[in-house]
Symmetry: C2
Amino acid sequence: MPSEPQSRYDQKLLHVLKTSAAVFASKGYHSTSMRDISRATKMSLSGLYYYFKSKEELLFLIQDYCFGTVIGDCRNLLAGVEDPISRLKLLIENHLNYFVNNMNEMKVLSHEANSISGDLFRKVNSKKRQYVDLVMNLLGEIANDRKVEGVDVRVATFALFGMMNWSYNWYNPRKDLDVAELSSQMTRLFLAGFLGSKTPDAEPLETGRESHLERTVSIWQH
Amino acid sequence: MPSEPQSRYDQKLLHVLKTSAAVFASKGYHSTSMRDISRATKMSLSGLYYYFKSKEELLFLIQDYCFGTVIGDCRNLLAGVEDPISRLKLLIENHLNYFVNNMNEMKVLSHEANSISGDLFRKVNSKKRQYVDLVMNLLGEIANDRKVEGVDVRVATFALFGMMNWSYNWYNPRKDLDVAELSSQMTRLFLAGFLGSKTPDAEPLETGRESHLERTVSIWQH
DNA sequence: CCTATGATCGAACACTTGTTCGAAGAGCCT
DNA sequence: AGGCTCTTCGAACAAGTGTTCGATCATAGG
């Protein structure tokens, strides 16, 4: 793990990013004031602006750095691995590993994706799109290899991301399974579902094109 | 569909809730001002406070009413159905149906769950807990009936909710599958994964207790 | 030791926020 | 029409917001 020479400036910036992420994660970005950040980092309010030029850029730095690391490590991990299923397993493991070890940052990344706008939003989003495409292509490849039928790859992709990213809403490291078991569980759950979706059980699942529901136009009967 | 006699008051309140939900869904709760709501609903700023006594209560009314309807309709739908798998299918279909037909409200329900606090938070949360418990018990029952092994029911429950609730981040009704197909896909994906998680394919999944990753303590190398 | 540069700070500004209050309007029964 | 309750409104307030600016502090290099 090549630790690049970190100047005093870089070290302090990272410290600020980390503690800010913790505050954002617990109170939410918009209801966190710069004064909250100031208090948490033990810096003066104006002193913070030496490291970024707006609250929004602070959010961006957290998201961008966090996402960059996830993607970078993911690339390193998958390099040289050819089998798409193995690649997927590694990707899931990497993703959840980050989630558990950097819950604050990952929560900020997942939950505050739309709290940012303009160019900064576009920058983060392009990284996100890369990452999503990677997974979508992987699933497409697998579906092709294994002749998986009747599964919408886009739905499957976001179902997978939903499974994983939702964990910031419930996962409790002191009460739930550890990372290895968590990712093992989710990998099995998803992969078995994806590969075996042509009815793994004796009793076939009705594919359910017909709806069991009365038509509900809207909750609010206008 | 028994439409209870709705007073002028109730009608207008529902109108306010619906349009507020739309604004909250697009801008986020905290960055929506009461003046935004006033503009969108074409009411005066102070006039709004005739219907609720704080912005937070407005959020609560949206969440509570929306959640109440989902749960209520879910109960009605499941009434009389015994087979746990059928019950689960209906529940998923109901849930996603609501998501698609009431995206704004469901997004506010999912995304702004922590934007509320105190007693109001507790009220919404108790409904949520009921709903989650219903699913968790259902999965436990299914796991028992079908002798599913090695699957953590809690993880499976939240994986399912993650799959479904995450859809507010990507689902586009004009571009993606319709509700019936969406819920069919997700039902298959989840159920096949849950039931067949003891390796549906010839080539066994390594359960992966061992990690492929170097230990990453933190993104931020402190 | 002194100076130039990198960091930090207190105080203030301009603005937006949620909420209140008393008065005025609308709708309906007799 | 009169009177009463339900509904709506304009104007204002107090508090909190993100950000700026000029001045200070620390520190390392000559």
